[in-house]
């Protein structure tokens, strides 16, 4: 076994909440649904939970095996490895996308003069050293960071209550149904179904039978936080909410308590740093562990830094500018992610069921 650490289902839930909040804490999903974003998030949560049901069922069926080992068992060595490499590409690419979200946000809002490469390398070094310490350390970090982040979100929401104008949410269901469904699907693909990377982590649960509930609990909690944030942003910013790239960041700027506590949006930025750190670490961990398993390595630790650098290079080259990044995430990504999030896990699950895998040792057919 490449990973000796084990995590509890509670730790898994918290880590998953952190992962889902990841970059969606700053890029509130469902933005193109305008003031109906919260409905899109609720629908997306449902779709995302269904998707999560597929891959958790698949992984928990094989108990302590990651998706790489499962692919080998279900499809055989050759095709299994090919499918595993597809997954690895997705994790790597997703990691690069999150890195891009990170850097573009900071370059736009806080550090216009800091070079992209420097920022990416710094983040990657911290994530790599965390991954190097194993899944246990990562899960324990999340146990401190996620509660802190959620309390900060609630705190700033409290501060914003005086600025709420609930009329901004009216009329409910203003959108044509097709647009709403598209928006809901894009919410499902980012961030909820991205949790498909946990096919690498579910294997390390100390009680695998609790995995399904842990995943669904985490998705619901993260979904509720996102819905609250979305309602808050619409209520505060009104029709302008769809125009902003980072609505949470804009909304929190409104806070002004007697001229003393102003410009608290730095709190949102800090939340984004910590949650993004969790998300990138999880993705890096998934990529590195998967690659080590595909290549039959003794340890995944030596390839952490090379893969991390690869992720940085991919992040530097795959989009030219912020506009392109948003264009990709809004228009292409919801379709691009479907095979990785739904189709491949579903096919694997069906074949595993048909072949009655995993075979138990006791001579069962």
């Amino acid at each position: 076994m490449l990973e000796k650490g084990r995590i509890s289902s509670f730790q898994l839930s918290v880590l998953l909440v952190g992962f889902v909040l990841g970059s969606s804490i700053i890029i509130t999903p469902g933005g193109d649904a305008g003031h109906d974003a919260w409905i899109a998030i609720a629908l997306g949560l449902m779709e995302g939970s269904l998707i999560a049901l597929i891959f958790t069922a698949l992984v928990l069926r094989f108990k302590d095996k990651t998706i790489i080992e499962i692919n080998d068992l279900v499809f055989g060595k050759v095709i299994g490895k090919l499918i595993s490499v597809l997954f690895l590409w997705y994790f790597l690419h997703l990691g690069a996308l999150v890195l891009n979200d990170y850097v573009h946000f900071f370059r736009l809002e806080l550090y216009p003069a800091t070079p992209r490469t420097v920022m990416l390398l710094i983040i990657m070094l911290v994530c790599a050293s965390t991954v190097n310490r194993g899944i246990e350390a990562l899960a324990r970090c999340s146990l401190i960071l996620v509660p802190l982040t959620i309390s900060v979100i609630f705190l700033v929401t409290m501060f914003l209550i005086p600025h709420f104008n609930l009329n901004n949410l009216m009329p409910i269901l203003d959108l044509p149904i097709g647009k709403l469904l598209w928006s809901a699907h894009s919410v499902a693909s980012f961030p909820f179904a991205e949790s498909v990377v946990f096919v690498m982590i579910l294997a390390f649960l100390n009680k695998s039978e609790k995995g399904g509930r842990a995943v669904s609990k985490a998705l619901i909690i993260a979904g509720l936080v996102l819905i609250i944030a979305s309602i808050r942003n619409s209520a505060v910013l009104g029709p302008m909410v769809a125009a902003y790239n980072y609505p949470s960041y804009q909304a929190v700027q409104v806070i002004d308590i007697r001229d003393i506590f102003t410009r608290l949006e730095i709190l949102v930025a800090i939340n984004f740093i910590t949650m993004g750190f969790l998300k990138i670490s999880v993705l890096l961990y998934g990529t590195v562990l998967g690659l080590a398993q595909v290549l039959n390595l003794q340890s995944y630790r030596p390839i952490i830094l090379p893969v991390g650098i690869l992720m940085v290079i991919l992040a530097l080259t795959n989009v030219a500018n912020t506009i392109e990044l948003f264009d990709f995430t809004h228009k292409i990504y919801p379709i691009y992610a479907v095979p990785f999030q739904i189709i491949i896990p579903l096919i694997t699950l069906i074949i595993a069921k048909l072949r009655q895998l995993p075979k138990t040792d006791g001579g069962m057919p």
Binding site: F106, S129, R133, R140, I144, D259, T274
Partner: protein, 517 residues
């Protein structure tokens, strides 16, 4: 260092002269080694010798209870020498010497090592045995009140340099016979006595085994202080934070042992180590438990706040000033900008200058002879405060920031030195990357701490991995004593229950004095 050179084990011969020559050869020419030869029989044909090291033994004890009886019982000894079936030394041991602990040995090496620890050896002509008499009694410091860990309501005794006194202090607090004191010697040359103290039935056995393993591994020339042991047994010696706790207070050590930890005591060190040591322990103080719970909880939270301030405050000031000035409330921003008017250095340089200056003052104040300390503090206050500002070196707000940081840094003593390093790192990073850099470094530290273990126990327990009951009852808050029913679960104690349930005091049910209305 001839005295401790290894010699192959030599047994005593019947000739006293040979034995003494052997011993003299091994002990060398040191002036503090006393070899007192005498005749102990009235017909003056039995020679004997007593060997001890002056300064390590209790002189009164040696002359009153060893020399005097030996020389005044000439007739008795003469009678015994005549009898065939009784050995001379056996008789002396049973009937002459009036000292508590006497043992026999046949080996010159063991004689020498016991003499080195302050025991007295007695040899006699014609005997292949020797008596080793416990006469340890060197000058020692009395038990004084603790100097570094001050408590308001707690006991006022502290450990001293003598191991026996320290173990006695523990025994006096816990009369349970299960209090075990396992001793061993470490150090090729110093041969220092080390004691592992724990309570059988509470401390898990594998913890004791692990400690023994780690102590046995130590193979160095000398253990001069408990700090040596600390550095040899730490799990992650390259970490910036300590993973081994120290205390000079018997009550603290006892309390930790009662929770399921083990203590290590070293002869010659007025401190005890306790393992495992966790992050939250740094914020706990004996007074928390002696005072009522509300204020204790409040003070703990203040300590956490002070600790965070002492690490982050200069960094935050630098970051806000150089990267995020919009975060200052506008009136304050104007004042701060005005105060920095005409100052040549960037704010990060100012901060580093003041922090380094503060560390210099602190170290100088610590090392200087006491009589000079006053002068340093006056000069320091002038330099750091008034002069630096009026000379235009630093802005006035920076002085406030550094002063507040300095005070806060002394609140959490176990992490005071760690905090100083983190503070410098944070300030430098804040100068380069602002709040973003500070958060990134904090994340790195957090993940390091999350992976760290002290003797197998995760360093950040019970916060992460989470143990809700311990987290609520005795981490940042301190529940009333009657509610602390079980020992901390993360230490995995053998006996989980600390007290019987329903210890909450309540008014008497049938109070005879109650007025009937």
């Amino acid at each position: 260092m001839k005295a401790t050179k290894k010699v192959s084990p030599v047994n005593l011969s019947r000739k006293l002269e040979d034995n003494l020559k052997n011993i003299k050869d091994s002990l060398g020419e040191s002036s503090d080694i006393i070899i007192r030869e005498m005749k102990i029989s009235s017909n003056a044909n039995v020679d004997a010798a007593v060997i001890y090291i002056d300064g390590l033994v209790d002189r009164d004890l040696v002359s009153r209870d060893i020399l005097q009886p030996l020389m005044f019982n000439l007739q008795f000894i003469k009678d015994k020498v005549g009898q065939k079936n009784s050995s001379l030394l056996g008789c002396i041991k049973s009937s002459v010497l009036t000292v508590g602990q006497v043992e026999t040995t046949e080996n010159i090496d063991s004689i020498i090592s016991s003499v080195m620890t302050g025991q007295t050896a007695m040899l006699a002509e014609g005997s292949i045995q020797a008596l080793v008499i416990d006469t340890k009694g060197w000058e020692k410091r009395a038990i004084e009140s603790p100097e570094n860990e001050i408590s308001i309501r707690g006991p006022k005794d502290s450990f001293t340099e003598t191991l026996r006194i320290n173990t006695a202090l523990l025994r006096r607090k816990i009369r349970d016979p299960n209090l075990s004191l396992v001793s061993m010697q470490i150090g090729q040359r110093s041969k220092t006595d080390v004691v592992i103290a724990y309570i059988k039935g509470i401390t898990p056995d594998n913890l004791i085994e692990e400690i023994k393993q780690r102590l046995k591994r130590i193979d160095t020339d000398a253990i001069l202080d408990i700090g040596y042991i600390e550095q040899y047994i730490e799990e992650n010696p390259l970490s910036l934070v300590p993973t081994v706790g120290t205390s000079e207070r018997p009550d603290v050590v006892t309390a930790r042992m009662l929770e399921g930890r083990a203590a290590i005591l070293v002869d010659g060190s007025p401190m005890a180590l306790t393992v495992p040591f966790l992050f939250v322990e740094g914020f706990q103080n004996p007074d928390d438990y002696y005072a009522r719970p509300f204020f204790a909880s409040f003070v703990r939270i203040i300590r956490l706040l002070g600790f965070l301030l002492s690490i982050y405050l200069p960094g935050i000031y630098v970051a806000l000033k150089s990267f995020h000035p919009e975060l200052f409330p506008t009136p304050l921003l104007i004042t701060v900008a005005a105060a920095r008017e005409g100052h040549p250095f960037p704010v990060v340089l100012e901060a580093l200058l003041m922090l380094i200056l503060f560390e210099i003052l602190r170290e100088a104040g610590l090392r200087l002879p006491r009589s000079l300390g006053q002068a340093v503090s006056i000069v320091g206050a002038l330099v750091i405060g008034q002069a630096a500002v009026s000379a235009g070196l630093v802005g006035a707000p920076m002085v406030i920031v550094v002063a507040a940081t300095a005070i806060a840094s002394f609140m959490v003593v176990p992490f005071a030195d760690t905090g100083a390093l983190f503070r410098l790192i944070m300030t430098i990073v804040a100068g380069f990357l602002g709040l973003f850099g500070m958060i990134i470094i904090s994340l790195e530290v957090l993940s390091h701490l999350a992976a760290l273990r002290s003797l197998g126990v995760p360093y950040l327990s019970p916060v992460t991995p989470l143990n809700t009951s311990d987290l609520i009852k005795d981490t940042w808050l301190r529940a009333p004593l009657w509610a602390l029913g079980s020992r901390p679960a993360f230490l995995d104690p053998l006996d989980k229950k600390r007290q019987s349930p329903d210890q909450k005091p309540h008014p008497p049910q049938n109070n005879p004095n109650e007025r009937k209305s």
